[in-house]
Symmetry: none
Subunit: 495 residues, 2 copies
Amino acid sequence: MKDTNLADWLLQHLHGEGAMNRQLHDLLLRAVLQGQLAAGSKLPSTRWLAQQLGVARNTVIDAYDNLLAQGCLLTRAGSGTYVAEVEREPPLGLGRAGAHKAVAPAAPTLSRRGSALLAQAGVSARQWGAFMPGVPDVTEFPVRTWLRLHNRRWHEAKPERLSYAPGGGLPELREALAEHLRVARSVQCTAAQIIITSGSHQAVDLVARLLTDPGDTVWLEEPCYWGLRSTLQSLSLRALAQPVDAEGLSWPGRFKGAAPRLVLATPSHQYPLGMVMSLARRQQLLEHCRQHGSWIVEDDYDSEFRFGTRPIASLQGLDGGDRVLYVGSFSKTLFPGLRLGYLVVPKALAAPFAKASAELYREGQLQQQATLADFIRDGHLGNHVRRMRTLYGKRRECLLAAVQSNFGDALPVLGDNAGLHLVLQLPEGTDDRAIEASAAKAGIAVRALSSYYSNPASARRGLLLGYACVPEARIAPAFRTLAEVLRRAPTPLAP
Amino acid sequence: MKDTNLADWLLQHLHGEGAMNRQLHDLLLRAVLQGQLAAGSKLPSTRWLAQQLGVARNTVIDAYDNLLAQGCLLTRAGSGTYVAEVEREPPLGLGRAGAHKAVAPAAPTLSRRGSALLAQAGVSARQWGAFMPGVPDVTEFPVRTWLRLHNRRWHEAKPERLSYAPGGGLPELREALAEHLRVARSVQCTAAQIIITSGSHQAVDLVARLLTDPGDTVWLEEPCYWGLRSTLQSLSLRALAQPVDAEGLSWPGRFKGAAPRLVLATPSHQYPLGMVMSLARRQQLLEHCRQHGSWIVEDDYDSEFRFGTRPIASLQGLDGGDRVLYVGSFSKTLFPGLRLGYLVVPKALAAPFAKASAELYREGQLQQQATLADFIRDGHLGNHVRRMRTLYGKRRECLLAAVQSNFGDALPVLGDNAGLHLVLQLPEGTDDRAIEASAAKAGIAVRALSSYYSNPASARRGLLLGYACVPEARIAPAFRTLAEVLRRAPTPLAP
């Protein structure tokens, strides 16, 4: 292409949008890639081209410089700027592009573990409203107190608090937590044994990466929380679903049998059914795991909210902290979006876990961690939990009353003595997923119990109803809507 | 250790219990960790070793593959299998007799992938101060503006913003980012293709879980960022280190050869050496990956800060977004502790990636995401980056002057045209890790270049010096301290 032709072509294609140097760069690049500017051909001088285009000379220099930096142009000393030898794009509509298609795999494909993850994904599109389980009432969170503490920490201006977190998290928060967990949950640990995480998913991910190898067996409760099952399975672990009975996790041939590398359990409040693991069963589990060198992950996700009885002491405390890794978070006590949780590990594992968490996740959020440390030490966490326990207790009674007035004793309620949700049991064979879908259409968020099972054949049917995030006055009307959906369902529900 | 000695030692320690491939793996791992097999030494061929031990060749292959996947061994194309650089256990002084005892697993044991992760961990205990690489000057962050936007968002009181994040993150932030990336980085995407992450570690973790299976090969640049190598290896991927030359990532037999499932590259600014991938190489890489159905992760960690030339357009834009997954974060432009980054995926992968990120990580932090969206849309991000580019440019010149005045041209500087650090090259054979340790004792944080290599035998020696977080007045005195350390080092450094 002659210099004048190039200038004309550029003038035709330059337009109003975007910076001129960028436009010029993109057009020249296109001309090189598509072969209008042949390899070895000389470019016009920046001064001349700027004049022709009516732009500042620096604009042209900048575009040339960029193409030089990419190796698309080259300069020869004292002689000017030339088009470099680059691999051209195939001319459009010609054979090479077609040959290309033949070699390349069809559609973008996920890997096997990726496909499996998506096929099983349990995450819900909705995160708020009646009767969304697992969500606390975040409108009751003491925003003013939090912002006061938060802004104070920001005005301290410690630069290292805006950088990456030290392994294990902010020492102040780990200290505050060790004290809190000792008093509130009978967890025996020092601050060094606490690893701050972004929640229970990260805690379980860390445990699995450090204590398991691909192909190892992990025991999960059947039913269980889908999110942690997905996390473990995508680390190439074999998830073995063990049934729960009235005393919690059980396993066939309880005193012998193959040993898992890891057991994931919710002894304080089975998720989602709600039973508490008996002391006898706890001791059997600890003994089994000690004998076989298995680790136990104790997921203590919501035991702060118990109605009636006192919280059950942790499995970690019973064990003395040798076999048990204790997991908790502030998602239920404060708000889910905070994304702060913790993992308490045995003493011998404290140093490697702290180091590995920094290596794998490169965490930060130290300003939030500092704010949370203040929030705990100043007693706001304890106050908030007590206040919420009273509030949720009233909402729970309201929901129980609504169930009773709509269905009498026809639909039994499970797991209502703690936590943020209860399970409304449905007759065997009910299609609880279809009911979930119909309820969603009627504006009510519920989750089908069967979707927490890995094996649908053995699944109990029911609905998880979260009451924590529903104002008392909304509970009866929302449940009436749900009751209508239930009455229209194929399986007969009330006598 | 000679091949025959190795075979003898293995024969002495193999015994009847457990699968032979597992025993062989464990013994070889011990030998690597305890230093009997030195870094860089070549392993015998699988055929020869199988013959010597009287086991099936597949048994040896399996043990080697496992160690490769953990990063304990590495292969060089057409040349064999070598011992990688890993953090050694303290020598136990074990002779041949009694070695068996030391081989038996100790009490609380990490898994193989856990041990490998820790053996290679590159994370530094320190995160601030002269000359910590990779850390921006967070004291310049516009705290008042940020808090104003942040507090305003909190006073809006939208409860769903305190709950879990929708898959992919806050739509407002994804919109703001799509626009920003189009203008600033020539990234072609819609908001739906953007997945908000907690940083580049999470972005790469997500890509690997969805697009790779255990045992798949991943190409990494040699040298590269240790954190992403660790993330990939602990997902049971085989990391194959490919050399970089003046044009960036290169690979033997560039137009044929085995295909990786994934390529992790830093085309805008090779980390840590600093070269820009040439246009020709970019096209070769895209072509190679298209032909073989490989994915490319483009890690664009700091290209906002270029001194002299304009930022290079992204590989994602060149490709049109079919093969490339583009990764970026705000760790360098704002502050590392913010923990917000993004992944731009091809259109066909947008929906599965959004869903899987919610399933795996259960993210939140929507108040921070909303604040960041405002910060970008109101132009504060652009302003801050421009201001910092000027500031860092001055600090860079100051450091270059300090190098010059202390060492003249005796120590060449690499990769100083962009980013937050430069590399001070040291003569071949210099023990740069020892210098890192001596500098730390003198109060100066530097990182040894060789520690970014998986294969120490081929490692260039040097020091990464971050200048971004060092006030101008501190640079010359801090460098004088470092120069003292360098002059006392065993290898002569100045004429």
